[in-house]
């Protein structure tokens, strides 16, 4: 099993009206960056690097970053800058980017170069993921929304060719035209770094990942529809001539571990008290539908089973647990958030592992209004107890990650590069 650590790196300003105890909901894309305080930001960026370093020390296999634009819920608006720094300051953990937003890049060659450099500097520790981005990303870089999916596919093809074919070559595509492709930076890993794809709702993206044999990671979706999505992947894989397994499936869950169950609960609640984040159930805030879903951005007729559970159910006020949809209690009941002492959380994690059988698990913690101390306590207990136990269970339950079993062939890969093995 591949176990990673993730936080959105929220912009935490205790004085801001949208933050913390005030619990004022923030509507996406209405906040002016006139409120941005670069002193606060400097502290936070450095804090998040300290936490990533500690996560590596605690034995996590991967340090995951993501990217959003023009919003305080993710400070990593140029995630590759953070990844570059991690490439130099970390030693062992994989740097997992989920993912770069292909369609908003007007020049995919720049992206190919940046990622190749990160892979080389880290000596082959980069895992490169791709996403399509939502409306805020397209607006922030004025990328034409109806061509999002076409640009995603063409940029991907161009980048793979840039990484693998000897240059120079010329590219005359529908969306990108390049006279001279011959960057003096090629991936350290051959033929190129592993590619994973995160997703929530889009059928097209899952189908594309399954056809390409790229591991697909579902981010904090409900368990039952997540299982259904893995089932869809499995049947697409079969149609394309291969058997998918745990190495093809990733799952991200919100997890907080603490010294007592009481402290764990109080701290886990903070996860839902930062700047509103449309991807963080329980603190999604508001969105403008016409901006979130720009014209032609996604096919609304082609959604995954997760679409009918998530915000949709909450929006209609339908509860599957007896609690208010999206509330802390609701999420606890459906294992959308797991908290407690190591002993408490392990019981829940065992059920989730058995039920969904992922080969990749990402722990989403240290988010919202959590402090550095909150994040570090949890990381320590995860490293001392939770992660090693999960590894034992993963072996027992036969849940290999994509660094142990090749997701494209189902064959075992030489030596497992898990933290336990390397540590």
């Amino acid at each position: 099993m591949f176990i990673g650590y993730f936080t959105e790196r929220p912009y935490q300003d205790p004085k801001a009206k949208f933050f913390g105890a005030s619990k004022d909901e923030l509507t996406d894309l209405v906040l002016s960056n006139g409120e941005y305080d670069s002193e606060i930001a400097a502290d936070l960026y450095n804090r998040y690097f300290d936490e990533k370093l500690y996560a590596e020390e605690m034995g996590f296999d991967g340090l995951m970053l993501n990217e959003h634009h023009s919003t305080p819920f993710t400070m990593g608006s140029v995630m590759n800058v953070e990844a570059s720094i991690l490439a130099r300051i970390t030693k062992r953990a994989k740097i997992v980017l989920l993912g770069n937003i292909l369609p908003v890049r007007s020049d995919p060659i720049f992206l190919a170069e940046e990622l190749a450099m990160i892979d080389v500097i880290s000596r082959g520790r980069l895992i490169s993921g791709w996403v399509r981005g939502t409306g805020r990303e397209s607006l922030s870089h004025n990328a034409q929304s109806p061509y999002n999916w076409e640009r995603f596919q063409e940029a991907h093809e161009l980048i793979i060719k840039t990484w693998t074919d000897p240059g120079p070559f010329r590219w005359e595509g529908r969306h990108y035209q390049m006279r001279y492709v011959n960057p003096w930076a090629k991936p350290y890993q051959k033929p190129h770094m592993p590619i994973w794809v995160p997703g929530v709702l889009s059928y097209n993206t899952l189908e594309w990942a399954a056809r390409k044999r790229y591991p697909y990671l579902m981010t904090a979706t409900d368990e039952e529809p997540t299982k259904e999505c893995f089932g869809i992947y499995e049947s697409i894989a079969r149609d394309n001539g291969y058997e998918a397994g745990p190495q093809n499936y990733g799952y991200m869950l919100k997890l907080h571990v603490d010294e007592t169950d009481e402290l764990a609960e109080a701290t886990a609640r903070k996860l839902l008290q930062g700047p509103s984040n449309p991807f963080l159930e329980g603190n999604q805030g508001g969105v403008h539908p016409h901006l979130q879903a720009l014209p032609g951005l996604t096919s609304r007729k082609n959604m995954l089973p997760t679409a009918s559970s998530r915000a949709a159910l909450a929006g209609r006020g339908i509860s599957t647990t007896g609690f208010t949809p999206g509330s802390f209690e609701d999420q606890v009941a459906k294992r959308g958030i797991i908290y407690g002492t190591p002993k408490t959380v392990l019981k829940q994690l065992r059920i989730a592992m058995e039920k969904m059988r992922p080969g990749i698990v990402m722990m989403w913690d240290g988010d919202g209004a959590m402090t550095h101390d909150d994040a570090m306590r949890s990381l320590r207990l995860m490293g001392e107890v939770v992660v090693p136990t999960m590894r034992e269970w993963a072996a027992e339950l036969e849940l290999p990650g994509p660094t142990e079993v090749d997701p494209a062939t189902g064959k075992h890969i030489g030596t497992a590069t898990t933290g336990a093995a390397a540590g």
């Binding site: 607006l139 034409q144 061509y147 016409h290 901006l291 720009l294 014209p295 032609g296």
Partner: protein, 262 residues
């Protein structure tokens, strides 16, 4: 919006895809191009105009029943297809009336193929960058708000579109929004090249603008009139952007008078 049944509907199968047209009236030929937010078919404005002329209003590709051109990237591409339609319909000495976004497409047609055109009428036309303000950006707005913004009087909007937007209307509006996002994403609703092409455009032109147009600023009337060698401005005091919907008889009267001066 409902399509009046008085007009004759016809689907013209161009090699690029089907285009639906509505025709009515008799006399000199007038081709009308609609706004960006929806192909509103045949309405009171067309009915009024058809009292004096043989009126044809064509859906632009990507609107109504007329297939979207997935390859199109610019309003000039629509202009090319509509010029093919003009040839197919055999229009000669026709007047071309462009409303809002349709005005931009009409100006492109006139710039490239003025020979058969008797008169060009631009009504609150997009296509040229205002100097001291911006064209209202529908991408950043809820579409209902955008449509409302084109009316000078909120009551006129409610009278036509009601208090709630029916689902099928939303679907049509969303499709129209995507058409615009495909062909006029950036620069939004203007071209840097069109003004230069209009300097030698010989068709006598009437530029009509509502003084309260909140979609395309009235200053653009002056820009159009200064660029086109033979152009006159007619301002509609207190008028908004969708003059054809809000003041159909008045607009039809101004257009009829300007065509009759030929």
């Amino acid at each position: 919006m409902a399509v009046a049944t008085e007009a004759e509907q016809q689907v013209i199968d161009l090699a690029t895809g089907p285009v639906r047209v509505f025709r009515g009236g008799a006399g000199a030929q007038v081709l009308v191009l609609h706004h960006d937010f929806e192909a509103t078919g045949w309405g009171a404005f067309h009915e009024q105009l058809a009292r004096s002329f043989s009126v044809i209003t064509s859906e632009m590709p990507g609107y109504g029943e007329s297939a979207r051109l997935d390859w199109a990237r610019h309003p000039r591409d629509l202009a090319g297809v509509l010029l093919a339609l003009v040839r197919r319909l055999g229009l000669r000495e026709y007047s071309l009336v462009g409303l809002g976004f349709g005005g931009w497409v009409a100006a492109e047609m006139a710039a490239f193929a003025p020979a058969d055109m008797a008169r060009l009428v631009l009504v609150g036309a997009a296509g040229i960058k205002p100097e001291s303000s911006d064209i209202l950006d529908q991408v950043m707005m809820d579409h209902r708000e955008y449509v409302r913004s084109g009316f000078a009087e909120a009551a006129a909007f409610e009278a036509l579109f009601g208090e709630r937007t029916p689902a099928e209307q939303k679907t049509r509006w969303e499709a129209a929004r995507e058409t615009i996002a495909r062909i006029s994403w950036k620069p939004y609703m203007y071209s840097y090249e069109l003004p230069e092409l209009l300097r030698e455009m010989p068709v006598p032109t009437t530029v009509i603008w509502g003084t309260e147009d909140r979609v395309v600023p009235p200053e653009c009337a002056t820009r159009y009139a200064n660029l086109i060698p033979n152009a006159a401005i007619r301002l509609v005091a207190g008028g908004g952007h969708w003059l054809d919907l809000e003041r159909p008889a008045e607009l039809a009267g101004i257009i009829a008078a300007s065509i009759a001066t030929e």
